[in-house]
């Protein structure tokens, strides 16, 4: 098992004929992901290295039975692309696009909630999702992830930061620990999928035995996750929060990573997670070491 995606997931790439879409879409296919089609308006009928391109998501879904979409189009076009996938009945949409205005994100999120409750959006501005050995949608380099072992124990990863997601995969691989699924939820203010959505799935996934969570300063998503963990997560967890030394009022790269009005500090988030029974590392390596201890005890 895995969460959100599996070996049978059929993926279309919106923007397959563009630079990012082509590069990552083909890498995902090389990894073994079932990439069945591309979508670029006006380029229907073309092929990209054997992958058929359609004018619309609806046509691509009708022809291939795709159930997931990888949105790799520029910020101006991404909101419409996400909603087009939802309208075509695609159940899982991964959007890696960075730089979508917050007003557009808020509108897209609330439109999905109201009109397309059957569609889950991951991102925007996220590295994507990988179930090692089964499916990789997004920009993660597949070779840094160790596939899960049949008898476990395996770890699920959920992270707000791209490179720290890789760091976590790397730490676990160094220690020989398999990963069930690794989800990068992205650093934007209105993520389609949040920590709690992933924690709920990991808790229910029989292949996941422990969970690493990587957060960062800004907002209150980690505090809300801590409340959820205390009440609903029985699996052992370790965590790391980036930005202990970040000064207040400065955006640290991600649109969402800002400490303002004394809220959203790393210390507050670490305290909340520790109080919920999560073992909190002071740096990514320590979070990996804590996870190795947890796994050794399972």
């Amino acid at each position: 098992m895995s969460i959100f995606v599996n070996a049978a997931t059929k993926v279309i790439v919106q923007g397959l004929t563009g630079g990012q879409g082509k590069y990552h879409g083909l890498r995902n296919r090389d990894y073994g992901t079932n990439v069945v089609a591309g979508v670029t308006p006006g380029k229907g009928g073309q092929e990209v290295e054997g992958i058929p391109v359609f004018d619309s998501v609806a046509e691509a879904v009708a022809a291939t039975g795709a159930d997931a979409s990888f949105v790799a189009v520029p910020p101006k076009a991404a909101p419409a692309a996400i909603l087009e996938a939802a309208a075509a009945g695609v159940g899982f949409v991964v959007c890696i696009t960075e730089g979508i205005p917050a007003q557009d994100e808020a509108k897209v999120f609330n439109t999905l909630v109201r009109d397309y409750p059957g569609t889950r959006l991951l991102g925007p501005n996220c590295p994507g999702i990988i179930s090692p050995g089964k499916c990789n949608i997004g920009i993660t380099a597949g070779e840094i992830a160790l596939p899960p072992s049949a008898d476990g124990p395996n770890v699920g990863i959920v992270s707000r930061s791209g490179t720290l997601t890789y760091q976590a995969l790397h730490e676990l691989k160094e220690k020989g620990i398999g990963v069930s699924t690794c989800v990068g939820i992205g650093g934007d203010p209105v993520p389609g999928t949040n920590f709690i959505d992933c924690l709920r799935e990991f808790e229910a996934d029989p292949e996941t035995h422990a969970i690493i969570m990587i957060g960062e300063i800004g907002g209150s998503a980690e505090e809300e996750a801590a409340e959820f963990i205390a009440a609903n997560v029985s699996k052992p967890m370790s965590a790391y929060i980036a930005g202990v030394t970040a000064p207040a009022g400065k955006k640290m790269g991600h649109a969402g990573a800002i400490v303002s009005g004394g809220k959203g500090t790393a210390q507050g988030k670490m305290d909340a997670l520790a109080a919920a029974g999560v073992r909190v590392g002071q740096n990514p390596t320590e979070a990996g070491e804590l996870m190795a201890e947890i796994v050794a005890g399972l």
Binding site: T163, P189, V190, G243, A246, K250, G253, N283
Partner: protein, 383 residues
Amino acid sequence: MDLFEYQGKQYFARYDIPVSAGDVALTVDEAVSAAEAAGYPVVVKAQVQVGGRGKAGGIKLAADADEVRHHAGNILGMDIKGHLVERLWVEHASDIDEEYYASFTLDRAAKKHLLMLSAQGGVEIEAVAESDPEAIVKLHIDPVDGLDLATARQAATDAKLPERALDGAADILVKLYRCFTEGDCDLAEINPLILKPTGEVHALDAKVSLDSNAVFRHPEWEAYAATEVLDDREQLAKQNGLQYIGLEGSVGIIANGAGLAMSTLDVVNQVGGTAANFLDIGGGANADVMAAALEVINFDQDVRSIFINIFGGITRGEEVAKGIVEALGRVELRAPIVIRLDGTNAEEGRRILAEAGIPESRLRSEPTMLDAARAAVALAGQN
């Protein structure tokens, strides 16, 4: 991007939000001209992006040209909490019956827009939230629905604004919401929102923060970029398209990815050092990007060592290594480099660095983030 008050008021005016007649002034003479145009009495206001201007003596009432000269002369060049006053806003003084507070932001937890409205304005809203939370009406707005006049009027009623202010307040709220959404603000705040004796409701201050992701659909924002408050390091970084934030420490930081960059600052701090900056070079770090990053760091006189922390995902180790070698050929660095290179093709990258013939006193590799942080901090202390 945060706007100055005068820019915020000009932005409000685009959405028909009533503001006082006034103009910006860079000199005492300009202040007098602005005052003559606005009509006496006027208020002379320091333009700085920090709270507490009034207490610091940065806001003064003036009845005639002599008083404007006196106050403008005092306020220009004033230092308010580390912010130098270079501009004034001079506007016609308003008669005030009551002061309210109104703002729109995005509530990230609720994923909805949030209106905050209070009959207690003119003071820090955080203070009201502490002392009398009931006095702030909070209303979530679904971005798909937007805000209509009836809902805005109800919010004003709930906030216990007087009957005679309700229509004016509702009208401004709807306009401010349009400014917030169509104007792509992260924050649109009026404090105080005033009720005049004549019954008009009016924005006496403007606090606007713009979402820089939306710059592609706002050509009018170009004017604001020119007045953005950046130090020399930040200016140089911006010219090179780097995500840079200047800090006070002695270890220069270069990392790929915002999360890893933040994490690098943390680790440096944990081993007893202080970071000189936050710098995210993003994915696909080629020689040009690396050279630009090293140049920005080199510009900072306080930097004693440079910690390059790269985890290759898409970014390949050998590309990073080639970039550093090439950059070292272009930039004469004052401080030594400690690099931690991991992930995709890291071994190849380390080999390229080792074979480049750079003396170890100028560049050394460490296997982990922690080791590299310790080495960089030690070097920063030695120099």
